[in-house]
Amino acid sequence: MSKDIRIKRGLSLRLEGEAEKELVKAPRSKTYAIKPPDFHTVVPKMVVKEGAKLLAGDEIFYSKYTDQIRFTAPVSGVLKEIKRGDKRKILEIIIEADAEDAYRDFGKMDASKADAKDVEERILESGCGAFIYQRPYDIVADPKDTPKAIFISAVSTAPLAADKGFIIKDKVDAFQEGINALRKLTPGKVHVSVDDTSAEHLKNIQGVELHHVKGAHPAGNVGVQIHKIDPLNRGERIWTVGVEDVAIIGNVFLTGEYRADRTIVLAGSEAENRKYYQSTIGANVSDLIGQASDSVRIISGDVLTGTQLSNNQYIGFFDNEVTLIPEGDNYRIFGWLPFTYNNIHSNSHTSLSWLFPKRKFTPTTNLNGEERALVVTGEMEEVLPMDIYPMQLIKACMAGDIEKMENLGIYEVAPEDFALVEYVNTSKIEIQEVIRLGLDLMITEVG
């Protein structure tokens, strides 16, 4: 059964530096790392010490306040270092990898026939609980909750994002098994949304409701799809899982092993060898790109929502992309003149870039202005295809007005849904951060 969703509002940025559709094996990194800050609100409680010998799938730490959620090693090797920041906050747990991975054996299990309790326990003990995120709040899901539905988006619309259809095409069996497992976790439906390419590979998946999604970014965002298919109300929970993560979960049941495979697309105007790489979660970015110069920004993730990395840091847990774009720390004389510098993309028509819809742009990290008070209205609505008033919600978040935030739909959004709003914003306000802080406030006040 499939339903069509058409997203009308939004903005598909066409950027220079798209990767070839060719999958190659990434060189194996010497060290891999799990970064607890990737799991927002999780306070890690270590169970192993530095120097411990680990198999892939061995528990490293668990979440202090939701202790059922466990985090496991993506590779086998020796725990080399626990890097800490301010207040001894754990930033990175670095594992020196063996030449070849040895896996902890969880035992095979047929997810479609097994008991729901066993399926849940298997997902948690293998560390796959970390892949399951929840809405509201966009945090790791609490296993004690019962979600009303599970959403998986196999649609990629973000600029230079990995093509999810391409990623999943060789992993369809594992994906199906992962779906079988996830179905046990919810009394509701498992929704999978597909675009043209992923539909080809996922059209025969059983036990899901398939949705064909068409439209500009952020149509691929799972939050937008939830909003169109089965909007979230106060008190409800919806879980979301990444496409490749479903296959990892499936592999745990098929093989009994936690195989933390991660396909990484290397893209962006400054990247060489732009291809898809078969890698493992937590790989060292420099093994993929070498040493980037200071004039290049390394982004783990896509250009709108990713995190900045330095050389020799580690790719984020959930990220399917490494994007390299030029830094923009240069001055532009009279940059405020309308209709000048048309090589910089603008959604506003004060630049002529909108006259060239086919043109590919090479954006830099320049802010193209300075932070100002919110003045211009109407620009945010153009890129947020939700029945939500973005400016009003943002102002409620800034003011910390909980009742207003709730009324205006804070439960339905995640920072990533506001990435384009932040991009087009004339006043250069850090809107994703505003939304994140708003969500954090809701977690402490409402829970």
């Binding site: 109300n233 409800e236 920004r297 300075e370 109407g378 850090e430």
Partner: protein
């Protein structure tokens, strides 16, 4: 360019963080960013950003004002010389108007930007660009003969009470430029209305007929101007309000660049036309109208400050309604009320200023109800999903 940059970096050295003049950095930043778009890069959030910024947006509005401003200069001279019955050339007319208008602009920018800079330093934020537009608008909606000190005082009132008292740019309820005009209008009515203020140096000449069309209608005089005169703007009036052609050129730029809301502009003209049509229909309903009610509805759209107010003042994003639906309602009521005030208020033949200011006050209320509809939808959905959950 490299040379300018280096000079600038040397000049701003004492203003940098940790140095002696750090407190005054907003002032030097305003100058610096006027020359160069800064080299700031994204720190958190999206790594790439749109090319637009507030400077660009505001300068676009200034550009949209230029045709009406230049026409206003020419018309200032034209009205003056033609009333005197003297021969004049195109450049003499422009020159006469420019000599009157440019000092007004200088005073407006000088006083207003001075206050803006002071507040930026005092509050520790950057100078907002909004005043670039406000400062140009204020002289453009004044009579040509208004003394410069009155312009200055109106600016002080508008910026201090109209804007900074509410928290600065983005927080004001009333459009600052209209606040300035309303201040001047109520504080110095003899300089702001009547039949001798709209033509330059009219006081020096006897038997001048410098009344505006609406003024003539209100006092029951003959209107000697054709519809084409009203449309092209060769009539007495505030400096830049007369030429509908130039205003529409500006409107086109605002709409094409999406800086001005076409929803507000269109719905305001519709609102004004409907109010005009209702008045025109009075005789058919058996009521006797007066000269103003019988003034054809399409003429209502092109005389006075209606077009200028709708295109450049009602669309001010801060003081207008902010939601899409709200903009339609707000715009419609601006037009509707402007014509209504025009016709019903015998003391003051122009209603646009008051119409827009009134709707500025009501814009948050309109938005509240539009947003509340969204909130109610969400609550209803919640109620249908979990009937047991109590909706507050």
């Amino acid at each position: 360019m490299e040379w300018i940059r280096q000079r600038l970096d040397r000049i701003r050295e004492p203003f940098n963080k940790g140095n002696k003049l750090e407190k005054y950095s907003p002032a030097i930043n305003a100058l610096d960013t006027f020359l160069f778009t800064p080299n700031h890069t994204t720190k958190t959030g999206a790594h790439i950003r749109d090319a637009v910024d507030l400077k660009r947006t505001m300068i676009t509005v200034v550009l949209a004002l230029v045709p009406a401003l230049i026409f206003g200069m020419w018309n200032g001279g034209y009205q003056h010389y033609s009333q005197l019955g003297e021969a004049f050339t195109f450049w003499e007319a422009i020159g006469h108007g420019a000599l009157k208008i440019i000092p007004m602009i200088a005073v407006s920018y000088g006083v207003g930007l001075g206050i803006e800079f002071a507040f930026a330093i005092f509050r520790g934020h950057e100078v907002n660009e909004g005043y670039l537009v406000t400062g140009l608008l204020i002289p453009m909606i004044m009579p040509i003969d208004i003394p410069l000190w009155m312009v200055g005082l109106s600016v002080v009132f508008a910026v201090l009470v109209g804007k900074e008292a509410f928290g600065g740019t983005g927080m004001n309820i009333l459009n600052p430029a209209l606040t300035a005009r309303a201040f001047a209008f109520f504080a110095y009515p003899t300089y702001m209305s009547g039949n001798s203020v709209w033509v330059s140096n009219a006081g020096e000449v006897d038997a001048i007929s410098g009344e505006t069309i609406l003024g003539k209608l209100a006092s029951g005089n003959e209107v000697p101007y054709s519809v084409m005169d009203m449309f092209s703007g060769v009539i007495p009036g505030s400096i830049a309000e007369t030429s509908v052609i130039c205003i529409l050129a500006g409107a086109l730029l605002l709409i094409l660049t999406k800086v001005g809301s076409w929803r507000i502009i269109l719905s305001a003209f519709i609102g004004a036309a409907i109010m005009g049509l209702i008045f025109n229909a009075l005789p058919a309903m058996g009521l006797e109208g007066n000269d103003l009610t019988n003034f054809p509805w399409y003429s209502h759209l092109i005389v006075g400050g209606l077009a200028f107010g709708i295109v450049f003042m009602a669309t001010d994003p801060v003081s207008a309604a902010q939601t899409m639906k709200g903009k339609w309602i707000y715009g419609f009521l601006v037009g509707f009320l402007s014509v209504m005030i025009r016709v019903f208020n015998p003391a003051y033949p122009e209603g646009v200023m008051l119409g827009i200011l009134l709707m500025n006050v009501f814009a948050p209320t309109i938005d509240h109800y539009v947003v509340q509809a969204n909130v109610n939808r969400r609550k209803k959905r919640l109620k249908n999903a979990n009937p047991q959950v109590e909706t507050a």
